[in-house]
């Protein structure tokens, strides 16, 4: 593999804590200007690999093997810090996941970019560095780069911060750029812009790219070659379209199957890693055919609801919620934030409603009001026959027997100091319910059974479970008092793809089995498209579009919806685009 064109060569790279291997025998070579994706789920060792490449491993981790970058004699695995300091930021640079913590909060953005260049004496003077920094900020397409250079990180948005990070990484024109999940913390539309920018920058400069992510669609979009990591080993590597259309290793197949929200098994459920053997990835031709078919099939506009006699489970009229921020100056007016403005919709029994929007769109506020955790400023929200607006705590008891929530964070939503039994049975301990301890235990057992966990889990504590299992416990807690409405707040966005498919299937099964009405809040259009039959799209507290999922998805009316749909990455579309350009 070694030749003049090799930029980075990694041979027999292993990382361990001394006793436990974290990364085992990774081998690959990257040509100049090549774009390689490193995919894997959490704990697969992909981040450890990238920090080992930068020789930034934390104390206590030992690396062996060879990592060499063209133009340098040093083996990065055992190079001294002094040697590495000359290389890092100069010939190889890294963009991290969380731009807020990766930037120094006390330094202006421009100064941080300039510092990198001064450190490596790439510019003759401070003044030149300043000018070049503004140039760099312009090249990452920050509007008004001169002003951005004077801004502190907290004055920039997440996407802008990530652009500054990219400007810093590219400032010295490195030959290798490492990106560790650079867009995971960003909104869909911003993610698309940042990814496009990264791609454009590296292609233009001929920079080698190592892109680490868990998102297969992103890799398909960004990279020409893919390494699949599982349990610290590279299980498969090859050209992107090869891997995505003809995966050889069962793990790759499993990942692909679980990521593909358009493919379902014979029960109409998503594939999981376990059932992936039956999954056949679409070939390029098939994908083309599907795309063409989707374009041809006109979507009929939803028939207007005739069945007026059916009482809606949720009816929201002119619902608004305004927050007052604290005064920032003595004489200024306190600013008002309109989290929700004049929202209207109804949900009929048995419907599955998806609420889609980016961060700050008001979807969580809406959900909190539905659950009686927050009060609207004006308007009315009737849930299962109970008016939420203005209702005192005591009246909300009835509502909460009918409506339950599943939260996003599988770590934070379970009290670490309570046993699963106590967690799951908690909703039964409210005034008006009469189950005794034995009965509650029996109900908990049944509920855990229903979510796929055994009765032996009752006596355990939350930290003994994985993220997916914890989310199952959350679902069990929500359903134990048999509510009519289940509200889920991004329940799968913190989970790995393979687990995500399992939890989505479970939700779909339970909604069918218990005839639930589902309100599903998500930023992920693909998930909503799979699970929901109706959707409302929110932007800045306003519902901009509502309708049947398919028609909204294929024929968006509002420009914002169109932008959202265009920005969200679809695995098939990306593979297709890759095949087209290859």
């Amino acid at each position: 593999m070694k030749n003049e064109n090799t930029l980075l060569s990694v041979e027999g790279l292993s990382v361990s804590t001394g006793r436990f291997p974290l990364v085992h025998d990774v081998n690959f070579a990257m040509a100049r200007g090549e774009r390689i994706g490193l995919i894997g789920e959490s704990g697969s060792g992909k981040s450890v690999t990238s920090t080992a490449l930068m020789s930034l491993l934390p104390d206590g981790l030992q690396a062996t093997g060879t990592v060499k970058l063209a133009g340098h004699e040093a083996n990065f695995v055992d190079a001294s810090d002094a040697v590495m300091r000359k290389i890092r930021g100069r010939d190889m640079a890294m963009v991290f996941q969380e731009p807020l913590t990766a930037l120094n909060p006390l330094m202006r953005a421009g100064a941080q970019v300039a510092e990198i260049m001064l450190q490596h004496q790439m510019v003759p003077s401070r003044r030149a560095a300043k000018a070049k920094a503004i140039e760099m900020l312009a090249s990452v397409k920050l509007p008004d780069p001169a002003e951005a250079a004077m801004a502190y990180p907290h004055q920039l948005s997440g996407g802008q911060r990530q652009r500054v990070m990219l400007a810093m990484a590219l400032a010295n024109d490195p030959s290798l750029l490492l990106c560790d999940e650079p867009t995971t913390a960003l909104d869909v539309t911003v993610q698309r812009q940042v990814l496009d920018l990264v791609l454009e920058s590296v292609v233009q400069r001929g920079t080698g790219l190592l892109f680490i992510t868990h998102d297969l669609a992103v890799v398909a979009n960004m990279c020409t070659r893919v390494l699949v990591m599982n349990n610290g080993k590279v299980v498969e590597q090859g050209a992107t379209e090869e891997i995505f259309t003809r995966p050889q290793h069962p793990y790759t197949r499993g990942l692909l199957a679980a990521s593909d929200l358009e493919a379902t098994d014979h029960d109409g459920r998503l594939f999981t890693v376990a059932s992936a053997a039956a999954y056949v990835p679409w070939t390029v031709a098939e994908t083309e055919a599907h795309a063409a078919a989707a374009e041809e099939t006109p979507v009929e506009p939803a028939a207007p609801q005739q069945d007026a006699e059916i009482q809606p489970v949720i009816k929201i009229t002119d619902l608004s919620r305004t927050y007052k921020r604290g005064r920032t100056s003595l004489f200024g007016k306190p600013t008002e934030v309109h989290a929700l403005q004049k929202a209207n919709f109804t949900v009929l029994p048995g419907e599955r409603l998806g609420v889609v929007g980016e961060s700050g769109s008001g979807k969580s506020t809406l959900l909190r009001i539905l659950a009686g955790l927050d009060q609207p400023t004006s308007g009315s929200a009737v849930v299962a026959g109970n008016e939420v607006a203005g209702a005192p705590e005591s009246q909300l008891v009835q509502l909460r027997q009918e409506l339950q929530i599943v939260f996003q964070d599988p770590m934070g939503s379970l009290n670490p100091r309570m046993k699963v039994l106590d967690i799951v049975t908690e909703p039964l301990l409210v005034p008006g319910r009469t189950e005794n301890a034995a009965k509650r235990r029996k109900m908990a057992e049944e509920m855990l059974e229903a979510v796929g966990l055994g009765a032996e889990t009752l006596e355990r504590y939350p930290h003994q479970f994985s993220g997916g299992q914890r989310q199952r416990i959350s679902i069990a807690r929500a359903l134990i008092c048999r509510p009519r409405v289940l509200v889920a707040d991004e329940p799968v966005s913190a989970l790995d793809v393979s687990v995500r498919a399992q939890v989505l299937n479970l939700l779909a099964d339970l909604v069918d089995a218990y005839q639930l009405t589902l309100v599903f809040v998500s930023h992920d259009l693909a998930v909503v498209r799979y699970l929901c039959d109706k959707v409302v799209v929110m932007q800045s507290g306003i519902i901009v579009e509502a309708g049947d999922t398919e028609s909204v998805y294929t024929n968006p009316q509002h420009p914002y919806t169109a932008k959202l749909v265009a920005s969200s990455m679809n695995l098939h579309a990306e593979v297709l685009a890759k095949a087209g350009t290859a």
Binding site: G43, G60, A371, L373, S413, L414, N415, E426, P431, H463
Partner: protein
């Protein structure tokens, strides 16, 4: 895999903090042992005076020598440990039982309740505990009880603040949201969710407050506002012996050393416990 590496890094860090905890526990046990021992056995009656044997140095018959009235210092030190622990326990008890619920109330109720409670705590904090003790001594007469109560009241704000900040953290978690979303009564949320999750902070605060209380009692007794003669108290022993410092300097050293051991012990124990309960280092504790 990743977890195992983190566990090892943690182990490294925990070794350092374990030394704090270890030294702290040993010193605290010394004080407790002394107090327990004083109930079972002391070499002499601490209050019995032998004028013929006054101002003796250390010897086998008097381990720490004798004072100006010929009383055995070692026996007095053992007896003094009782008062020290009693004052610490009662003062911490008062502060804990009043401060913690107030803090939890403020953190859960927010709004006016919070303002009133925390401003009350601020006002209390504006008066040093010693000043309060002097006031109490002036009003109710000097004595161990008024010293304990004054120190206890003076330590309430610390507990209220700690409990409030812990409660605010817990209240923002999704498990409390989930509990509220199923209409759990506030008392049960406080009992099942808030208390278990702030208990670590409160224990640490108790240990540190204990050290402060020991010191405050010694200071008050030294000023004659705390424990009254003839009851043995380290602070008072210190005060009584200061005029003989040129004749018998060891008379000052022993009670001083005893106070230092107790204060350091509880402080180190508090530090060790703080690290032990630090949520950032300890996500995986069962």
């Amino acid at each position: 895999m990743t977890t195992s590496s983190i566990t090892e890094l943690r182990a490294k860090r925990s070794r350092r903090r374990n030394t704090n905890m270890l030294i702290g526990s040993v010193l605290v046990s010394l004080v407790v042992l002394a107090a327990v021992l004083s109930f079972i056995w002391t070499p002499y009656n601490p209050y019995e005076q032998f004028f013929a044997e006054k101002h003796q140095g250390s010897s086998l018959s008097h381990l720490m020598g004798t004072d100006r009235l010929g009383r055995d210092v070692f026996s007095n030190i053992l007896y003094g440990a009782r008062i020290t622990l009693l004052v610490g326990l009662v003062a911490v008890g008062i502060a804990l039982l009043v401060g913690t619920p107030l803090g939890i109330l403020a953190g859960m109720k927010r709004g006016a309740t919070e303002e009133v409670t925390m401003r009350f705590a601020d006002i209390l904090l504006a008066f040093p505990a010693l000043l309060m003790a002097i006031m109490f001594a002036a009003v109710y007469g000097p004595g161990t009880v008024s010293a304990m109560v004054a120190i206890g009241i003076g330590s309430i704000p610390g507990f209220a603040r700690i409990a409030r900040s812990g409660t605010l953290q817990v209240m923002s978690t999704e498990y409390v949201q989930a509990a509220r979303a199923s209409s759990q009564p506030a008392l049960r949320v406080a009992w099942r969710h808030v208390m278990p999750n702030i208990v670590g902070m409160v224990v640490v605060q108790s240990s540190v407050t204990f050290a402060l209380a020991v010191l405050a009692e010694a200071a008050l007794s030294f000023l004659g506002l705390g424990t009254q003669p003839p009851t043995a108290s380290w602070g008072r022993m210190l005060q009584e012996s200061q005029q003989y410092i040129s004749i018998n300097p060891m008379l000052v050293v022993w009670p001083g050393l005893a106070i230092a051991v107790a204060v350091m012990g509880f402080n180190l124990l508090g530090d060790g416990l703080r690290d032990r309960f630090d949520p950032k280092l300890n996500g995986e504790r069962s």
